[in-house]
Symmetry: D2
Subunit: 383 residues, 4 copies
């Protein structure tokens, strides 16, 4: 935990730019990792109290696995992966870091990595780390609710942990905990729309993606763009997953990146000669965000056409595609296809959660909720 | 509020014998009435802030209506109405008390009574007092969660109140409040099974009903049963709704009844010569409760037969029907047929909640959850 | 815990009539006893984690001792002891009950009773049960704050328990916990004046004492006063500590008394022929309380004389001494003379809390805070 | 509030490096300013409800004054002022910003600035913004407690605000609020030692001061030190309060500084050729902190000598004064000399808080608590 690579997570906010909407949401990936490890300890206690045997070695491996599950994330992770370091994925980075740490600690992370990759024989352990109702989700829902102040998102993780059990090597939940799981799903749904997919949060995310995309375009076109040295290296080298694994330099550079590089670079760009880059950098720095319109139905092509024209007219200098966009966002709250939450009934049978839930049976057949969005400067949609 | 008839509610617990399971659940109908009035004030503020005009007279009437909505309840209300004062109903008592108070205050309660009886022209006011999502339910869910410590039952009443509006003279809820309503329904469902229909709570309620029923039987058979004077009067006179309205004495006697009469009487019966009465009184006093088995499926007649026989053999002195019972309990969480919760969409249209809810669409067609129970002394079901 | 004598505590409110001011304060001595036992378990864990050896037998004895520490309390304890059952003290009753239970359980309570009476060789165990900073106080301050809603009274019992240790067979507190102890003392002080000695709470207590005193006077004068059978027995027999120990009947009768006897009896007295009894009973039932004036200085004899005359004139029928009283109340927040709270310094030395506290040094010399009161019907002090 | 200069506070953490100890303490000066403004609104409501007239213009000015009271702070304010931008003070910066904003808004901030500078005729308004018990302290104590999780530091600001009043143009507190003020003082004291002066927090602050000091030394000695452009400008120009006021460029540069500049610069220095700078930068980045020993007594010169020698021996490359330091820290919890908290007694007289407080009388005479510290690498004090 005191390793510099883990301390780096102190400098990466868990929720990126969500603090533009919820000013308290400054919490870091570091605190999430610590919190998840704490919950893992509680989960292990709970399982042991029900007779599930977990050795000291497995105990340590589970704690390491959850502690490191997000170690591969960079600053503003989505933005980075969508725009700038497109060819490197946080899962691959995470694995590379774990492997390197494992070599450093002479194989002590072997079991943790097996669990993480679902290669360990006792399958329920991977489910604790990663499944539809895992320790990761329990911690981040609790933490994100707390720091945003969205009380509707609070889940009762203590009761959930008490309802947890293992049967036939899979994670199961006692029947009397069904309501708590329903509440978990509902809270997740609430957090999706009130925080993760909040209109203004989406707008800020689009902005930072566009900013980094434009910066990369300028570098690709041969401009000597000022930036923080760490970010500059990535823009100029554009490593991919393969170079990451073969060239130790790449990983070392990655481990030096954090939120501050993006911020300082952004401040360097506010008086740049490129009107598009300058415009986006100023907007991000001063929180001067675009409008996002969310709709359950597709937005009429006529309106889209009209609005786009208005955007073009009012912002002649800036490339339109950085000001106007449209698309869909999706709310993947619970997907039995990816591995159902299993309920252990009093008679010993195991059934899928959605089959026995009074309120969530619909999750069996229904699809994800999809919303359509338009993203454009304020004032352009009313014309 | 300082009127003795209202102060009486200080001596009547909101949740009867639930404190046998949740020791903190000692809160009274008095505090529920005060709390509901407080929420009504917040609701009125919220509606006014959205342009709904509510006169000072209506404001007062709404507060009185919600303050007095439970004024007709007696001690251990269900037990009393099921067993002892079978011919008087708490709604009728409530109305009689309101009318009497109205005469006392020279007509100042006219409007409150109209709203209470849904005879006032502005229909949404009655919906505030009594509907599928009313101030009454908001307060008692919050209060019962708090005092039982069942945190899963907590609702976010402040957000619900902010989402409230009025359109076409009916109470509506803004679209963005749908998740809060889903959470309200889910909380209600949780409270049903974890508190109101908890096995041990049911067992205690069956016991007190049986105790009072047996006491009444003995009085009806001509025994001179000792009891608190207030309770004794009712057992001997057996008034009904009509005598209640015509004979002012009946109402006065009723207004003297509270939880303490039942407790003191129970203590008088623990050494009575009737074995059944004595048995039930001792069990209630010492919290020596029967077992309740709850099941989603009907219980097999074979088992029922076997268990009943076992009960009879082990308790020769006591009348079997006071020791063994079977039946169904029902969870009426949300019933659109009784008046749907109405959602006000952004485009101004009003739709039923269940139609637009992601998670609760099933409430449209599905029936109430029904469970089957057996009630019998401990140890008799295992034989 | 399932013993009827312990279940009796379910029917005795911890704070008597304080719910007249704080409607939520309906919690019982039963929940306090359970809560204190829970904290005792935490304390034992904390001490063991610091190397203090506590055997399984001692563990059980400590839990029993704290569970039963209040078992001798009757309903409205102060009122009862001051007015009606004057010759029986709750400590003696408590001991009698413990001894009887001990016989019943064939000596299994021996050690618990020794600890309770401070006769056990390991003195720190008694200090856990009863001292200036014991488990009893920690639980009731927390509980009373919670149920009254007086948040200022909340203490951080979890941190206090972690700071706890044992040195030289006495309970000590680590130096870094001093601020938590200061907060404990301050909270206790706040609870004294905002709850336990609140003007209206005092007024209600004076009223119930007077009511029971008058009832006893009438019985002593040979009147056949109606009352609940359990209360009546005590008024007629007036047992004392000696008869309590020698006559098993007395203890059995005492164990049948609870809050409901006082309430039912009060309702029987509201139309009694004695004007004083009738007046007091009506006031109690309808929460029609007298005024209490609290003052840091003695109240001027001139005013007292004038007010008393006014009381007499306005209430000719009622005996004046039941309407008008004066005296002092005292706030005994922390009294080093009764056994100081001991601080374990980093260098291993043990010092008195007040000596090393930045904020509470004054507790070393200062006396208790004393306030003067007058108690009289509303409207009489203004004349 | 949407002004870029105010948005800048989003990028400056309220508690600097305290998150090294309390990982949740990532909250910003932005959220503190917003929160304080919210409390100011509540305070104004409270005062108005007691008949204190506050015009709409004064209302706005008070809100602006509290919103901007910290606008002049830079990143890691203490470190910056102690090390790098030594000749510019945050109060002067704050005033310069307010004046500039005032010109921008054509004088609309006139009254706010008068209140801030205590030049407005109604003196109590300045006391709301800045005094021993002001809105600033109420917000930051609450906020810092919440985000660090140090629950002992929580104050009951709602009750404090209700107790607030104005008499003879000064802010006073009703007598019955004395306990709440005592709790406020105690909480402040707790926060001092558990957060603001926590050993590890002090260690981190010493480190960042030293790092910036060494960087400036190298620049002063003519080295071309890499750094974020914004920080570099300050290191090379070293403006003072006078140039700040006369050269608009200076203020504009200052307004571009935030936490990210320090972090990015620190990352640039971890492989610098100067061993001292390199050492300090690595320690800060990886949270590899020195030890701080706090003591109530002065530390013995013999030990200091011995430890210093040990530091020198073990770290030959690094300048010793950056590794070893000694001094005092002081806890200025409440200082009546700077303007006592005034209590309004029931008889209308105004007295100093410490005179009438039961628990805090000692504050009248006593001096601040002072502690002595040594700061040195781990392992060097044990030798």
């Amino acid at each position: 935990m005191e390793h510099p690579w883990f301390q780096r997570l102190r400098r990466i906010k868990q929720l990126g730019l969500s603090h533009f909407v919820y000013p308290g949401a400054m919490h870091t990936r570091f605190s999430h990792a610590l919190g998840a490890m704490h919950l893992m300890g509680m989960a292990i206690d709970s399982l042991r109290s029900k007779g599930v045997e977990i050795s000291l070695e497995e105990d340590e491996a589970l704690c390491i696995a959850i502690l490191l599950h997000d170690i591969g994330h960079g600053p503003f992770s989505h933005a980075l992966e969508n725009a700038l370091i497109k060819k490197v994925h946080h899962e691959r980075v995470g694995l590379a870091i774990m492997n390197k740490l494992n070599r450093h600690f002479q194989g002590r992370l072997d079991l943790a990595i097996q669990i993480f990759l679902n290669q360990y024989s006792r399958k329920f352990m991977h489910q604790l780390v990663s499944s539809q109702l895992d320790i990761d989700r329990m911690d981040y829902l609790t933490r994100d609710s707390f720091f945003t102040g969205v009380n509707e998102g609070i889940i009762g993780y203590d009761r959930l942990l008490k309802m947890m059990s293992v049967k036939d090597d899979q994670l199961v939940w006692e029947e009397k905990g069904i309501h708590s799981i329903e509440k978990f799903i509902l809270s997740r749904s609430i957090m999706y729309w009130q925080v993760y997919m909040h209109k203004t949060v989406l707008s800020a995310e689009f902005l930072i993606i566009d900013l980094l995309k434009r910066a990369q375009e300028l570098v690709d076109a041969g401009h000597d763009l000022p930036a923080s040295p760490m970010l500059k290296w990535f823009m100029e080298h554009q490593p991919d997953d393969d170079t990451l694994e073969n060239d130790p330099e790449v990983l070392n550079k990655f481990l030096m990146l954090d939120d501050s590089d993006v911020l300082v670079s952004c401040k360097m760009w506010i008086s740049h000669s490129d009107p598009t880059l300058r415009c986006l950098a100023n907007k991000l720095l001063d929180r001067d965000l675009h409008q996002v319109i969310l709709s359950n139905q597709p937005i009429s092509p006529l309106n889209l056409e009209k609005w786009k024209k208005s955007v073009e007219e009012m912002n002649a200098e800036v490339i339109t595609s950085y000001l106007f966009a449209t698309g869909m966002v999706e709310n993947d709250v619970y997907n039995p296809a990816k591995g159902a939450i299993k309920i252990l009934q009093k008679d010993g049978r195991i059934v899928d959660f959605a089959e026995v839930s009074t309120h969530m049976r619909h999750l069996l057949e229904e699809k994800n909720v999809v919303k359509h969005y338009v993203y454009l400067p304020k004032g352009c949609a009313s014309s």
